[in-house]
């Protein structure tokens, strides 16, 4: 069934879009990532103009994160205090990110910088996570309990706050910085940033994996809502028809994902996410190094 999208001005198959939304929603519910890093390239692939893909992808992420976060609230696995600190950082960061984005656009290399930073970031995060979780898995197999993270330099910082749900007594500075970095990324790459935030929360802040996912979704909901609104107001690039189709698939997928996520062990969940992150990284790296099919590319408008 073909549907004509009013803003994107292309006709696409409705079931393809619902299916895409479903896959991304599944990841979102399972891992607490918004899925923006998947949905945006997938939309490019089916012929949606990039600007519209980024903005509408953000709108879809809002829906699947709301759906996911509500599931986590029920299970009491959302640290609202931590989420709010991350959110404040995120909003500051996304404002900064827009500035950086505009600067790069004037230099004409925004695409390259985004792609390289994706590859580096995904590669580092993915392999670190994979190695660590494999080790943890082996440890638990041998019967030994996973060790709690030792108190490091992070715990010497001032402005300490009790994050009861996470069981942490920690300075607000590290989460604020993590939130900000993610905000910068989300504005520049058009992603929620969950794939960066989740590992950062686990390894840098030492939060328990189960709480991390709900909290990450909580922050992503608001950051992407802000992004969607900014795109709609300043560039008119949100296609609500496209968003609705993605959302229908997305919210369903997110529920199934949250259900599956609750049954899997934390280490298994991390291995799966690490593999997905690495797969996207390899794909993007190949695009950089292999000779492209088409040396030429078209961008609408005068850039």
């Amino acid at each position: 069934m073909q549907i004509y999208l009013p803003i994107a001005e292309v006709a696409v198959n409705a079931f393809t879009l619902i299916g895409l939304g479903g896959i991304v929603g599944l990841m979102s519910g399972m891992f607490g990532v918004g899925g923006g890093f998947l949905i945006t390239p997938l939309l490019f692939f089916i012929g949606i103009p990039p600007a519209i893909a980024v903005a509408t992808g953000a709108n879809q992420v809002v829906a699947s994160s709301v759906s996911g976060v509500l599931g986590h609230v029920k299970r009491r696995s959302v640290d609202f205090r931590m989420g709010t600190v991350l959110l404040v950082g995120g909003l500051i960061g996304s404002a900064l990110g827009v500035l950086v984005f505009n600067l790069l656009q004037r230099l004409g290399q925004v695409e390259l910088v985004v792609q390289i930073s994706y590859v580096v970031m995904l590669g580092v995060v993915g392999s670190m996570m994979l190695v660590e979780s494999l080790r943890a898995l082996r440890r638990t197999r041998r019967g030994a309990r996973a060790k709690r993270r030792a108190h490091g330099w992070i715990h010497t910082l001032p402005f300490k706050v009790k994050f009861r749900t996470s069981g942490l007594y920690l300075s607000v500075i590290p989460p604020l910085i993590v939130g900000m970095l993610v905000g910068v990324l989300s504005a520049m790459m058009g992603v929620g940033g969950g794939f960066i935030m989740v590992p950062a929360m686990i390894y840098l802040l030492g939060m328990p994996t189960k709480v991390v996912i709900g909290t990450s979704l909580f922050q992503i909901t608001f950051v992407t809502a802000f992004t969607t609104l900014m795109h709609a107001i300043s560039y008119n690039t949100v296609d609500v028809m496209l968003a609705v189709l993605l959302i229908v698939g997305g919210v369903t997928g997110a529920q199934i994902g949250a259900y599956l996520g609750a049954r899997l062990r934390a280490e298994q969940l991390r291995i799966l996410l690490a593999l997905v992150v690495l797969a996207v990284c390899v794909k993007l790296a190949m695009d950089l190094f292999l000779t492209p099919d088409d040396l030429y590319s078209l961008t609408p408008g005068i850039v």
């Binding site: 004509y4 009013p6 968003a243 959302i247 040396l295 408008g301 005068i302």
Partner: protein, 298 residues
């Protein structure tokens, strides 16, 4: 003197189109009005381009003129829009016997609204592929289809092509900024190749059927990813590579119903539209969460 262009279209409010047509000499030619007496034009805005013959005074009418029509003069884009068929048809009107010295050929074109586009080329730098040079085309049609009775390059004189902008490369206009690349043509060729591959540019040699050198028809398939705007359809009659008469008419492509409403809302009230999008997202997210919980409880 090659021809006279009658600016009847201008009088009918076709100023924008008339700009596209080169006007070597503009002369009033009242005789043209008579040309449409016996067979009234089916299309709304006839723009006859006629060959004035060897001298304008002795041959007030072209020996052969085109009279044409379209299966519809508007395309409505609805939610389930999946492309559309457009039929251009017509006949050659003549007072004299069919000239046997040369073959009559017909070319029909459909052209979508023009938009600017940036073409970039990648090059390998330090092992990775980077966008380096770019060329900006000020106005390239979003859709362009050419149908002919025979291979285009055989029936159309290059000079005439440049003048009437018939073949695909000539449909592109103006480089928007000073060129700093050596080979801009390679860029536009690459763009044409890409657009032909995705079906927004087409060249259908032999797709126009001409019966008894008089009746002709050309079928066009408009793709699903149409851009809204005023499209332009043209028909050319040719003999010995020269355009002897031509015809042009607009084709309105408009979004209707829900499509129109959403489009207008997005551009007229972006804040309302943005909030609506978020509300839909939030409600859908909450709804799915609630529904799934209810499902689990059972």
């Amino acid at each position: 003197m090659r021809g006279i262009i009658l600016c009847l279209g201008v009088a009918l409010g076709q100023a924008a189109w008339a700009q596209d047509v080169p006007q070597p000499e503009t002369q009033p030619a009242p005789a043209q009005v008579d040309a449409t007496d016996t067979v009234p034009p089916i299309m709304s805005y006839p723009l006859p381009l006629t060959n004035g013959g060897t001298s304008g005074a002795s041959a007030p009418q072209a020996p052969e003129q085109v009279v044409a029509g379209m299966s519809s003069d508007a395309v409505s884009i609805t939610t389930s829009f999946d492309g559309s068929e457009i039929l251009l048809y017509g006949a050659v009107k003549r007072e004299t016997p069919i000239p046997s010295s040369s073959l009559l050929q017909v070319i029909a074109t459909v052209e979508g609204p023009s938009r600017s586009v940036t073409i970039r080329r990648k090059e390998r730098r330090f092992g990775i592929w980077v966008n380096t040079e770019s060329v900006v085309v000020g106005a390239a049609p979003s859709f362009y289809a050419v149908a002919t009775t025979a291979p285009l390059r055989l029936i159309l004189d290059p000079e005439e092509d440049a003048r009437f902008r018939i073949s695909i490369p000539t449909a592109m206009r103006s480089f928007a900024r000073p060129l700093d690349v050596e080979d801009p043509v390679e860029f536009t060729e690459a763009m044409i190749d890409m657009r032909m591959a995705e079906g927004s540019y087409r060249l259908d040699d032999g797709a126009v059927t001409l019966v008894d050198d008089t009746l002709f028809r050309a079928d066009f398939r408009l793709p699903a990813n149409l851009v809204e705007g005023t499209y332009k359809t043209r028909i050319f009659l040719l003999r010995q590579g020269r355009v002897i008469d031509s015809y042009s008419a607009p084709l309105e492509v408009r979004k209707v119903g829900l499509e129109r409403w959403l489009y207008r809302l997005a551009f007229d009230q972006p804040l309302v539209y943005g909030l609506m999008s978020l509300l839909i997202a939030a409600v859908a997210g909450w709804g799915a969460s609630a529904a799934f919980r209810a499902l689990q409880r059972e």
